[in-house]
Symmetry: C2
């Protein structure tokens, strides 16, 4: 990279926050929706419609016109949607859910990233919300965090879970444990998508999740086939299961904690027992041609906004951790970038492994 190219790239980084909010503000103010309904509105008409000054609307539109997200007619002074107008509504909805996630759970919190790394605590949650703990605890107490997080997670789950269940084998009649299964949605999906005679799915999570989880099982008509066990994965994992699912959980933890999780899963399984890990995968090599889409979000998000630890890993790191804890990888399924919306944050992979040694 030439010095000039490096400096230009650094500028790109510097402009990240202002670019992000300029675009999002055009949506939040309602400018984009107005232009969808009434192409050709002038800045003054838009300003009147959204309750802002004409100058401010003009200012914010400069960037989106430059990007060709919105078009501008110099003759009439009218704006209309360009690239944004061509996006299907479902795409816009998904993108806005994630933009809101970035705004609400990251933008201000990231200011404290360095402090969070130094202290191993999410300093941004403490400073902004007076909350000591992780984002996953804070969502229970703070509506804005909860709504933004929930909306984005629903969009993420809708995109990832069907693919996950399409790409794992669960032998008929298996006893399945959904590790850190929260309030049962993974278990319900497992039963609905991979059900077979005798198949039983158990959600394993902290005891306080039990009531809501069982209610979810009843509401979804799977109470006969699903159950709940309360406990702490860092103490022990219940025995008697053939398959252990670990979805959206390993990335929350530093490697010593992942090691502890794998160790406890090993202790709970018989030899040959199966694990299916859903993880964000980082590119292996400096110049890996694989999709780098996980590394510009997850490290800063987990360290500065969510847990003050964790993040995705390279496959080599997951492999080493599994081998050290008595597993061998049997299959790695990386989500095809062609089947992943280009706006998606991470690249997901399923790592399938089986227990080969007792610890």
């Amino acid at each position: 990279m030439t010095t000039q190219a490096t400096l230009a790239r650094l500028r790109d980084y510097m402009m990240g926050p202002t670019r992000f909010m300029n675009l999002l503000s055009c949506f939040e103010l309602g400018i984009i929706d107005r232009l969808r309904e009434n192409p050709g509105m002038t800045a003054a008409e838009l300003a009147d419609a959204v309750g802002a000054k004409t100058d401010a609307v003009e200012q914010l539109l400069n960037l989106v016109v430059h990007e060709d997200f919105v078009g501008y007619d110099e003759e009439t002074g009218g704006y209309s949607l360009a690239a944004l107008g061509a996006l299907p509504e479902a795409d816009i909805e998904r993108v806005l859910a994630f933009m809101d996630l970035v705004k609400v759970t990251c933008l201000r919190q990231l200011y404290y990233l360095t402090d969070s790394v130094r202290t191993g605590t999410v300093v941004g949650l403490k400073e902004l919300y007076g909350y000591e703990g992780t984002l996953f605890g804070a969502v229970a107490e703070h509506k804005d965090l909860r709504e933004s997080w929930g909306r984005a997670m629903d969009a993420e789950t809708a995109q990832i879970d069907p693919w996950f269940f399409d790409n794992i084998d669960i032998p008929a009649g298996s006893q399945v444990l959904d590790l850190a299964g929260n309030t049962g949605l993974g278990a319900i999906d497992t039963y609905k998508l991979k059900g077979s005679p005798g198949l039983r799915v158990t959600t394993f999570d902290l005891p306080q999740k039990e009531e809501e989880c069982l209610e979810n099982f009843r509401a979804n008509g799977v109470a006969e086939h699903c159950s709940f066990i309360g406990g702490d994965v860092f103490e022990s994992v219940p025995k008697g299961f053939d398959v252990v699912l670990v979805k959206h959980f390993l990335a929350l933890w530093d490697k010593d904690k992942v090691f502890a999780i794998f160790t406890n899963v090993n202790k709970a399984l018989e030899a040959g027992g199966q694990v299916e890990l859903l993880v964000p995968l980082y590119p292996e090599h400096n110049k890996d041609s694989s999709d780098p889409r996980s590394v510009d979000f997850y490290p800063a998000f987990f360290l500065g906004c969510a847990q003050a630890q964790g993040g995705g890993q390279k496959l080599s790191a997951y492999r080493a951790l599994l081998e050290e804890t008595g597993f061998e990888i049997t299959k790695v399924t990386v989500k095809d970038p062609a089947d992943t919306p280009p706006d998606a944050f991470p690249v997901h992979a399923i790592i399938s492994a089986r227990k080969v040694a007792h610890l």
Copy 2:
């Protein structure tokens, strides 16, 4: 733009905040400095040196390695500076000054951009600092804002002011007014760089700047040639000057205020009187090939972080405002992108005009 390309570009926008702070945090933690001193350090060695966990250091380095800012040797597990190592120290200093400006004066404040646009006040300063007013007032009360702002402005001035004075003509013996000249540095530069027998420079700003301004004149040995007039440009501009400089000021204001400034300057000048405006210039057309570097920072910065109004303008807008207030443009000098560091935020221009009509 295809739907896929639009979504990928939107992802780029979404990743802006996390990418920005991930990179800056590598500097703030001291990781980059350690690698400059000791190439080849492992994540564990770096972690030990900077007081962070190894996992966290590894996580943050993923992105900068992917960007080739930093290199990684898989054999040794050692990191060393790649593109960042090739940057001259002065470039790094300037980039870090602006990254700090973005972090301290923008990152958290931008969360409130939409509210700031709706209310016409800088909501972020109120929410984060309890300050009601603009960034330029807040810097007087808040050390973190003042230091970050001052450092970036010093870097900006060092880059722009010499170019400004190289590109304006000030006839020998002129009486020069530096409009909104703050505490006199522009006047001092004017005298030092454009001095001639009989040349006199007057700083015009709010009366409370007088004492510090006169002290600066004395300290710089120009007290004989420079003076101060206190007043408010929106009320009237002092008469008796041949040349009026307006540097780094017009972008603070919406167009009605710029109109008012030009009107008062017109009233103060004789016919033929000269104005020299230093402004950030926005691209004229949708597809203008001119440098778009001003529009991804200034709109969001001025609206959400600084003034809740203002921003740069297209040349056509400045021209219209000048013509409506009795001026004609005599020359437009745009800073050559080849002479502008690639990391610079705005593209500056000097608009030279002269008074052609009495209002």
